[in-house]
């Protein structure tokens, strides 16, 4: 015999059955581990790794050690520089892709290197840049130099390879938003006397805000937390926060300090994500605003009018 349930009870049970397996999974393997990190960052370090159950702010104090400060500053400039170069390169790419008739093919070309194993890509750069590598061999053969240049194991190599790795993260969201953008607005701006650059900066950029912020976040956060790239193509003076965290866990065995640094990375990432969500919402809001719509309408009708005349 089937029990009779009220609709909202039924809904509640079904929702729980469908939704909570994932909820439990994330609670157990994401929320709890993150909670442990938060907890550990406020504890005293154990002698042989692990922690002692005693409240302490030592880990946060240790973070202000000048040698770590240097690494934090380096991580910041490396991530900001590489992110901006990525976005600077990605805007015209996304624009050209959105305008192209061969979108699927171009996406294919961007996605192949993007999906190729990241270590293979880092390895490719090592074999190009290293002292015995492709570039040096080529230059020596051509007689331009007679000794290998030092192209790898420095900050320049880290920035170059980071840009290489994360450029698609900037191109794809920008392509998606520019693709939705109404290009007739640019023509309208033209007809109203704006130069091409002015039209793009003043008309297109405000309309692709969400794409720009997504591109920024999805490039900046992984670069800011980079671990493998500085480890493999960086030198002694190229360590980033990600490397400190790993070293503190595996070598120095200072778990509270590693946790404290992880907290900083997490907080910065979360701030970025909320900023991105805020921009997305704001854009939706703007689009609903009547003034915006009338303006667009005016520009469009102006354009069609002129086109007919």
């Amino acid at each position: 015999m089937k029990k009779f349930l009220k609709p909202h009870e039924r809904e509640h049970i079904l929702g729980t059955v469908y939704g909570w397996p994932m909820g439990l999974w994330f609670t157990l393997f994401f929320t709890v581990p993150l909670g442990i990190i938060i907890l550990y960052s406020f504890l005293k370090r154990g002698l042989y790794g692990g922690v002692e159950w005693e409240f302490s702010l030592t880990a946060y104090r240790q973070m202000f050690n000048p040698s770590f400060g240097k690494v934090v500053l380096r991580t910041l400039w490396i991530s900001i520089l590489s992110t901006f170069i990525c976005i600077f390169l990605a805007i015209p790419c996304g624009y050209a892709m959105a305008k192209s008739k061969h979108q699927t093919f171009l996406l294919f070309l961007i996605i192949i290197p993007f999906w190729t194993n990241s270590l293979i890509r880092v390895y490719a750069w090592i074999s190009i840049l290293s002292t015995e590598g492709f570039i040096n061999n080529l230059l020596i053969r051509m007689g331009i130099i007679n000794q290998g240049l030092k192209l790898i194991y420095n900050n320049g190599a880290v920035v170059l390879v980071l840009i290489y790795m994360y450029l698609p993260f900037a191109i794809l969201p920008l392509f998606t938003t520019i693709d939705k953008f109404d290009f007739s607005l640019l023509d309208a701006a033209h007809d109203l006397g704006a130069t091409k650059l002015e039209a793009i900066v003043k008309v297109m950029f405000p309309n692709i805000r969400s794409g720009l912020s997504t591109a920024f976040i999805f490039t900046f956060i992984p670069i800011f937390g980079a671990y493998a790239v500085p480890l493999l193509v960086g030198g002694k003076d190229s360590t980033m926060i990600g490397n400190i965290i790993v070293d503190q866990v595996s070598k120095t065995r200072n778990w509270p300090l590693a946790s404290a640094f992880s907290m900083v990375l997490t907080l910065i990432s979360l701030v970025g994500v909320f900023w991105m969500l805020y921009n997305g919402k704001r854009e939706q809001h703007l689009q609903k605003k009547t003034t915006q719509q009338t303006l667009e309408h005016n520009i469009k009708s102006h354009h069609t009018h002129r086109g007919k005349a």
Partner: protein, 267 residues
């Protein structure tokens, strides 16, 4: 008018030139690696064509094949688990109101946006706190965790376009919950579920950082094997392996070609 066409043309070609340069930049390293995989000697100096490194790769790299087998096992098991749990949750969260709904939605986006190092370290510390030995099982758990958000997001996006009245119609016609699920909901979301699954497979095969933290002795995946080889320096066997993997990526991207825009929108 002349000025218009002129300015339009220049910026048109500017963005196209940039795109062309970026694509060349993205492909040069891959070409170099593939080119030197056919070199007959070890260095990055062309000495003549040969297939010796492919021979080495196929017949003389047993640990590589073990790693590849591990990678496949992990990729399949974690993708199946993530696809099942993630798709169900997408259905539940889209259509039903229940306790914890907003918590689950929020927490499902976070693993996607936090740096990989954080996910890896927190899992490592968690596993050692609850005394689970690192190995295939922990890699499976980690991969399922970072795969889940992608399935959830892709299926949710499909459900946004789904017409809920078909479910109501099925109910009115006497279908029970299980029948509605298997006969109405699943067939209509299956494309999204499949592309989510393929996405999981690629991501799982690709992952290095998180796996690096949660793997134990003997449970190394292919990226970990490549890592250990890179640490010993440039080896042409990796060049040969790279070509095989690039080909694999191309095959996956090609089968995916209809979904590429969805993938671009969700990554």
């Amino acid at each position: 008018m002349n000025y218009h066409t002129y300015s339009r043309k220049t910026s048109f070609s500017f963005s196209y030139i940039m795109l062309a340069l970026v694509i060349v930049f993205l492909f040069i390293p891959l070409f170099v690696v593939v080119f030197f995989s056919f070199n007959s000697t070890r260095g990055m100096r062309w000495e003549g064509a040969s297939l010796i490194w492919y021979e080495q790769l196929i017949f003389n790299s047993p640990s590589l094949w073990t790693a590849f087998k591990n990678s496949l096992i992990i990729a399949l098991s974690s993708s199946i688990t993530a696809t099942a749990i993630g798709s169900l949750a997408a259905v539940g969260i889209k259509w039903y109101r229940f306790r914890g709904r907003s918590y689950i939605t929020t927490v499902s986006y976070l693993p996607m946006v936090l740096p990989e190092v954080i996910i890896g370290i927190s899992m490592l510390i968690f596993f050692s706190a609850v005394r689970i030995r690192l190995g295939m099982f922990t890699i499976f758990v980690a991969h399922t965790t970072f795969n889940l958000p992608f399935v959830f997001m892709m299926v949710s996006a499909r459900l946004d376009e789904f017409d809920y009245s078909t479910v109501e119609a099925a109910r009115d016609l006497g279908a029970n919950e299980r029948q509605t699920l298997t006969k109405v909901i699943i067939p209509s979301i299956i494309p999204a579920v499949l592309s989510g699954f393929l996405m999981c497979i690629t991501m799982s095969l690709e992952d290095f950082v998180i796996t690096f933290f949660v793997s134990g002795p003997g449970s190394g995946t292919l990226p970990l094997y490549v890592y250990s080889m890179i640490r010993y320096g440039v080896s042409p066997v990796i060049n040969a392996l790279s070509f095989v993997m690039i080909l694999g990526t191309m095959v996956i991207a090609f089968t995916f070609r209809k979904f590429l825009k969805t993938v671009a929108a969700s990554s």
